[in-house]
C-alpha cells in the first residue's frame, strides 16, 4: 500500500511516482521526457496561471491584468484552481497544488507527468514546432533581455513595443510555409553576440554628432524592394523590414514572435492532449488499485474526481455552449480502446482499419502521435460517442429568425455532425487570413494588408482599428487594411492607421 488516508508527504510522493512510472513505462510503454515535480501553494498557482503556465516570464502589465482577474475571481469563489499545471519542456515540469490529497497527487502525477508528458513528447505538432529542451533557457534569456532593455531605454519604451507586438501575436506564426523547429539556444546566443558586438563598437563620440534631418537613405533605401510578399507572418515582416525600429526593438518583437510560436500547437490539440492524459491517469489509477497499491477509498476518490472533470453538460445546462475537452477527449479515447477489443458491427463498418485489432494501446499511441484535434475527430469520432453525448447540429442563418436543427445522432446525421465538430477545431478555418500584400517604399511607405474572408465574417471593427494602430506604431508609417471577399475579390471594409 503506497499510502492510506488523505495526507501525503514527500516520501509518499516519491513512492507513488515510482509505482506510477513502473506502470506507465513498463506496462503502457509511454515515452516521456524526464520529469520534475514541483509542489506549490495556491498563490503560486495563481502566478502560474498568469504566465500561461510558464515558470519564467518577462514583466508586463497584461500579466498583472490576468493576475488581478484570476485573483479576484478566486477570492470571490467564482473559480477554483487546477490541481496541477504541466509545462511542455524537458525536463517536463508538473506543478502540484499543496492542498491536494494523497490520491489527488497520485492522480495528477499520472495525468500530467505521464499522460501529458507522453503527448508532448510524441505528438507531431509538438515535435515539429517546439524545442522543449531549450524553452526554459530561452524564457530566461527573454526575461533578462527585456529587463535589460527596460534599464537602458525605460519601461515606457519597452512597453510600447511589447503592447504592439502582443496585439499582433496571432499573426506571428508561419502557418502555411511550414516551420523549422526553432533553435532557441542559438537564439539567445545570437542576441548575446550581437549585443557584445554593439558594445565593442560603441563610441561615445557618435552621440555628439548632430541628428540627421531626414530618414532618406535609411537602411531600406527607397529602391530596395522588399521581397517575399505576400507575407502572413506580420511580426516576422516587421522584425526584418520595419524601417524605423532599433535593433533592440526588433529583438523584442522576435521574442514575442518566438514565444507565440511556441504556444501555437497547444490549442490545436487540446481535446487530444486532455483525452490522452485523462485516459492515462484513469488506466494507471485502476492498475494501482488492482495491484493493491492503493485502497478502495483512494480509487473511489479518483473515480469521483475524474467524473467531475469529464462531465459534459448539455447545451441547456449552463457551463457554456462548447465542448469540455476532457469529456470529448476521454470519451473518444475510451471508445477507441473499446472498438479495438470489443467492436460491434457498426464499428467494423465505420473503422475497418482498427476495429477488433486487439491492440488498443498501439492504436491510441498512433493517434496521439500523428493527429491534431481536427483530423483526430474527423478520423475517430464514432457514432457511439455521438449517441452518448447526444450531439446535434444547428444551422444559424443570420437571415432567418430561427435556428434550424439539421442533424442529430442518427444514421443520416453522424457524418454531418462529425464533419462539423472537426471543422470547429480546424485552425485553418478559425484563424484570420491576414497578409501583408505590399508596400510602396518610394512613395508614402504605407503598408498594405489584406484580410481574405467572406461577407458576414468581418473583423471586429474596434479591435481591428486598435490593432492596426499598434501595427502602425511598429511600422513607423501609415498602414492600410482591406477586407476582401475571397470568392469574388470585392472589398468589404477598409481601415487606415497612421
Amino acid at each position: 500500500m503506497l499510502y492510506t488516508g488523505t495526507d501525503w508527504n514527500f516520501s509518499i510522493l516519491r513512492n507513488c511516482f515510482h509505482a506510477i512510472e513502473e506502470i506507465a513505462h513498463n506496462e503502457l510503454g509511454l515515452e516521456t521526457f524526464p520529469n520534475r515535480i514541483e509542489v506549490i501553494t495556491s498563490e503560486q498557482m495563481l502566478d502560474v496561471y498568469t504566465s500561461h503556465g510558464m515558470p519564467i516570464s518577462y514583466p508586463h502589465w497584461s500579466a498583472g491584468k490576468r493576475f488581478v482577474g484570476h485573483e479576484n475571481s478566486y477570492k470571490r469563489g467564482l473559480m477554483g484552481l487546477a490541481y496541477e499545471v504541466v509545462i511542455n519542456s524537458s525536463p517536463c515540469i508538473s506543478y502540484l497544488m499543496e492542498e491536494n490529497t494523497a490520491t489527488m497527487q497520485a492522480l495528477v502525477i499520472a495525468h500530467a507527468a505521464f499522460g501529458h508528458n507522453h503527448f508532448f513528447r510524441n505528438n507531431r505538432l509538438f515535435r515539429e514546432w517546439t524545442d522543449p529542451t531549450q524553452i526554459l533557457n530561452y524564457l530566461e534569456f527573454a526575461r533578462s533581455y527585456i529587463a535589460k532593455c527596460e534599464e537602458r531605454h525605460g519601461i515606457r519604451a519597452v512597453e510600447r513595443i511589447l503592447d504592439a507586438a502582443h496585439a499582433l501575436q496571432g499573426q506571428g506564426v508561419d502557418r502555411h510555409t511550414g516551420n523549422k523547429r526553432l533553435d532557441l539556444k542559438h537564439e539567445s546566443d545570437r542576441a548575446r553576440e550581437r549585443r557584445a558586438y554593439e558594445d565593442s563598437q560603441y563610441n561615445d563620440l557618435w552621440r555628439t554628432l548632430p541628428d540627421r534631418e531626414t530618414d532618406a537613405g535609411d537602411v531600406n533605401s527607397s529602391d530596395t524592394p522588399i521581397g517575399g510578399l505576400p507575407e502572413e507572418n506580420i511580426l516576422y515582416f516587421l522584425e526584418k523590414n520595419a524601417p524605423r525600429l532599433e535593433p533592440w526593438e526588433r529583438e523584442i518583437i522576435r521574442i514575442v514572435r518566438l514565444t507565440a510560436q511556441y504556444f501555437y500547437p497547444q490549442p490545436q490539440v487540446k481535446v487530444m492532449n486532455e483525452g490522452c492524459a485523462t485516459w492515462t491517469h484513469n488506466v494507471i489509477m485502476h492498475r494501482l488499485h488492482r495491484k493493491g497499491l492503493i485502497d478502495d477509498a483512494a480509487i473511489m476518490e479518483a473515480i469521483h474526481s475524474t467524473t467531475n472533470v469529464i462531465t459534459q453538460r448539455g447545451f441547456d445546462e449552463g457551463g457554456g455552449p462548447g465542448f469540455n475537452p476532457y469529456a470529448l477527449g476521454l470519451a473518444m479515447m475510451n471508445d477507441i480502446a473499446r472498438m479495438c477489443e470489443n467492436p460491434t458491427e457498426e464499428d467494423r463498418a465505420w473503422f475497418p482499419d482498427f476495429a477488433g485489432n486487439g491492440d488498443p494501446l498501439g492504436t491510441l499511441k498512433h493517434a496521439w502521435a500523428e493527429y491534431r484535434d481536427e483530423s483526430f475527430i474527423q478520423q475517430f469520432l464514432s457514432p457511439k460517442v455521438i449517441r452518448d453525448l447526444r450531439l446535434f447540429r444547428l444551422t444559424d442563418d443570420a437571415a432567418q429568425p430561427y435556428l434550424l436543427v439539421d442533424a442529430i445522432h442518427n444514421e443520416a446525421g453522424y457524418r454531418d455532425i462529425r464533419r462539423s465538430v472537426a471543422a470547429s477545431y480546424d485552425p485553418g478555418s478559425l484563424a484570420e487570413e491576414i497578409e501583408i500584400v505590399g508596400v510602396d517604399l518610394s512613395g508614402d511607405r504605407v503598408l498594405k494588408l489584406e484580410h481574405r474572408t467572406r461577407p458576414g465574417h468581418l473583423l471586429h471593427a474596434t479591435d481591428a482599428r486598435l490593432t492596426l494602430g499598434h501595427l502602425a506604431e511598429l511600422w513607423g508609417y501609415g498602414v492600410a487594411l482591406k477586407e476582401i471577399d475571397s470568392q469574388n475579390g470585392k472589398e468589404l471594409a477598409s481601415y487606415h492607421a497612421a
Binding site: F67, A167, D396, A423
Partner: protein
C-alpha cells in the same frame, strides 16, 4: 526525477505586474476612486475599496472575426427532443453558440465590461491624492503634538506590588525551589505520620527504634531546609516595567462648519461637502483616530450628525460667530489641545451680519487661531460679493490670513475647482515656508 518543494520560494511574483497594471490604468482607477469617494459618506470613503474601471482601458486588441451575417453551423451536446427540421427560437444576445465563427481571441476581451481592483487603503489614497501631490507636501506641514505615555518595557526585579507579574514570579520560584532541592511538604508530613505511628507503639523493637531515630533526624533536617528555603523569595519577584515614551498624538478632530442660511443653495453646499470630504480623507491618512464635528449655523449654531448636516435644509439669517463660539465650546469640553490636533474647515457664501464681523475677527484671532493646526475657509460662489472680492467674511479673514499662516482662505466657484483649490491651500503654505527659510 526530481521533487522540489517550491512553497518556500519568494512570494509576490506578480506584485510588479500588479503595480504596472495599476499604473497603466491609473487615470481610470483614479476617476473610479474619486467617484467612490464622492458617492460614499465621509466616514466610509477611506476604507480599503473595490473599484471597477471600464474594461476597455486594459483591453488588449487583436485581429479577430465576428459573425454577423451569412450561415454557420455548430454542434452542441445534450440533445433530448430535437429531430432534424426543428426550428428553435434564437436565444437573446446573438446565436446560441460560438462554434464556428469566433476565434480564441474574442473570448478574452469580449465578455468583460468592467474590471475590478481591490485596492489597499494606501493604494486607494495614493491614487486619490495623486495629482494633488499632497502627501509629501503636507507631511511637513501638519504639526504633530507629542505626549508621553507609559509603555510596557519588559520586566524588572523591583516595582510596586500592584505590578507583580504573578506568572513570571512563580516560574522563577519553582525553578529556584527545584534547583535548591527544597523538600516537599508532603514528604515531611509522611515522615511525621510515620514517626507518630512508631511512637504510638509501646514495646519498641530495636529496629523500630533505629528507624525512629533516623526519621527524627531526617525530619529535623527537612524542616530546617524547609525553613531556610522560602517558597517565594524576593529574588523571584518580577514586576511589569513601564517606561514613559513620547508618543505622537495620533488623534485629530476636524470641525466642519457650514453656513446653511437661506443664501446658501444646494449647489453651494455640495461644493462645501466636497471640500470637507477631501480634508477628511486627507487627515484620515495621517491620524489613527479622527473625530469629525459637524456644526451648521444660520442665526444660531448647532451640532448635528453627518446626515442632517448635508441633507436637512435650514433657512434664516447668518451669524457666523455663533458657530465659532460653539466650536470653541465643544473643543474645550471634548478636545483638549494637549491631546488633539485640531482642524477646522468652514464653508460659507461669505454673508454675515455686519455687526457680527468684528466679533468673528476677535474670536478667530484670540481664541481659535492660537490653538488650531489649520483653518481652511472656503467661500463658495453665488453672491455678487465674491466677484467684487469683498464679502463680509472674506474681508475679515483676509486681514487675519496675512498674519496667521494657519488660516487659509480660498474661493470656489465650481466643482472642478475643488481639487486645485485644495492643493493650492497646502502648496501656498510650503511656498511661504520656503520663503521664510
Amino acid at each position: 526525477m526530481d521533487i522540489i518543494d517550491r512553497r518556500p520560494n519568494p512570494h509576490g511574483k506578480n506584485t510588479e505586474n500588479r503595480r504596472r497594471v495599476l499604473a497603466r490604468a491609473r487615470d481610470a482607477v483614479q476617476s473610479a476612486v474619486r467617484t467612490a469617494v464622492a458617492q460614499g459618506r465621509i466616514r466610509d470613503s477611506a476604507q480599503g475599496n473595490t473599484v471597477s474601471i471600464p474594461a476597455d482601458v486594459l483591453h488588449e486588441p487583436s485581429f479577430h472575426r465576428t459573425f454577423e451575417q451569412g450561415v454557420r453551423q455548430f454542434v452542441l451536446p445534450g440533445n433530448r427532443e430535437f429531430i432534424p427540421g426543428d426550428r428553435l427560437r434564437r436565444p437573446p444576445g446573438g446565436a446560441g453558440g460560438q462554434g464556428g465563427g469566433e476565434g480564441d481571441a474574442s473570448a478574452e476581451g469580449g465578455g468583460e465590461d468592467s474590471y475590478r481592483f481591490i485596492l489597499s487603503r494606501d493604494e486607494f489614497l495614493d491614487l486619490f491624492f495623486d495629482d494633488l501631490e499632497l502627501p509629501d507636501l503636507v507631511r511637513r506641514e501638519i504639526a504633530v503634538a507629542t505626549t508621553t505615555a507609559n509603555q510596557r518595557a519588559g520586566l524588572s526585579s523591583e516595582g510596586s506590588p500592584s505590578q507583580v507579574d504573578l506568572g513570571r514570579t512563580m516560574r522563577h520560584s519553582i525553578a529556584r525551589r527545584i534547583g535548591l532541592k527544597r523538600p516537599k511538604p508532603e514528604r515531611l508530613r509522611e515522615i511525621e505520620a510515620e514517626i507518630e505511628e512508631l511512637e504510638a507503639k509501646k514495646p519498641l523493637l530495636p529496629e523500630a527504634y533505629e528507624r525512629l531515630q533516623l526519621l527524627r533526624d531526617e525530619r529535623s533536617a527537612l524542616s530546617q531546609r524547609l525553613g531556610r528555603i522560602p517558597w517565594v523569595d524576593p529574588v523571584d519577584l518580577r514586576y511589569r516595567r513601564f517606561t514613559p515614551t513620547p508618543k505622537p498624538t495620533t488623534q485629530a478632530v476636524m470641525f466642519c462648519i457650514m453656513d446653511v442660511s437661506g443664501s446658501m443653495t444646494e449647489k453651494m453646499k455640495e461644493l462645501g461637502k466636497q471640500f470637507f470630504l477631501l480634508l477628511h480623507v486627507f487627515l484620515e491618512r495621517r491620524y489613527e483616530k479622527l473625530d469629525i464635528v459637524f456644526i451648521r449655523h444660520a442665526e444660531t449654531a448647532e451640532e448635528v450628525d453627518e446626515e442632517t448636516f448635508f441633507t436637512d435644509p435650514r433657512t434664516g439669517g447668518t451669524v457666523v460667530s455663533t458657530a465659532l463660539e460653539l466650536m470653541i465650546d465643544i473643543q474645550k469640553a471634548r478636545y483638549p489641545v494637549s491631546q488633539w490636533n485640531i482642524y477646522a474647515a468652514q464653508a460659507s457664501d461669505g454673508d454675515n451680519i455686519a455687526s457680527d464681523t468684528p466679533i468673528v475677527a476677535s474670536q478667530m484671532a484670540e481664541r481659535i487661531l492660537p490653538i488650531i493646526q489649520y483653518f481652511a475657509y472656503i467661500e463658495v460662489a453665488g453672491s455678487g460679493a465674491i466677484i467684487r472680492n469683498d464679502s463680509d467674511l472674506w474681508r475679515c479673514y483676509r486681514g487675519l490670513a496675512e498674519t496667521h499662516a494657519q488660516l487659509a482662505i480660498r474661493q470656489v466657484r465650481d466643482r472642478r475647482e475643488i481639487f486645485p483649490v485644495f492643493r493650492d491651500l497646502f502648496a501656498r503654505r510650503e511656498a511661504e515656508q520656503l520663503r521664510g527659510a
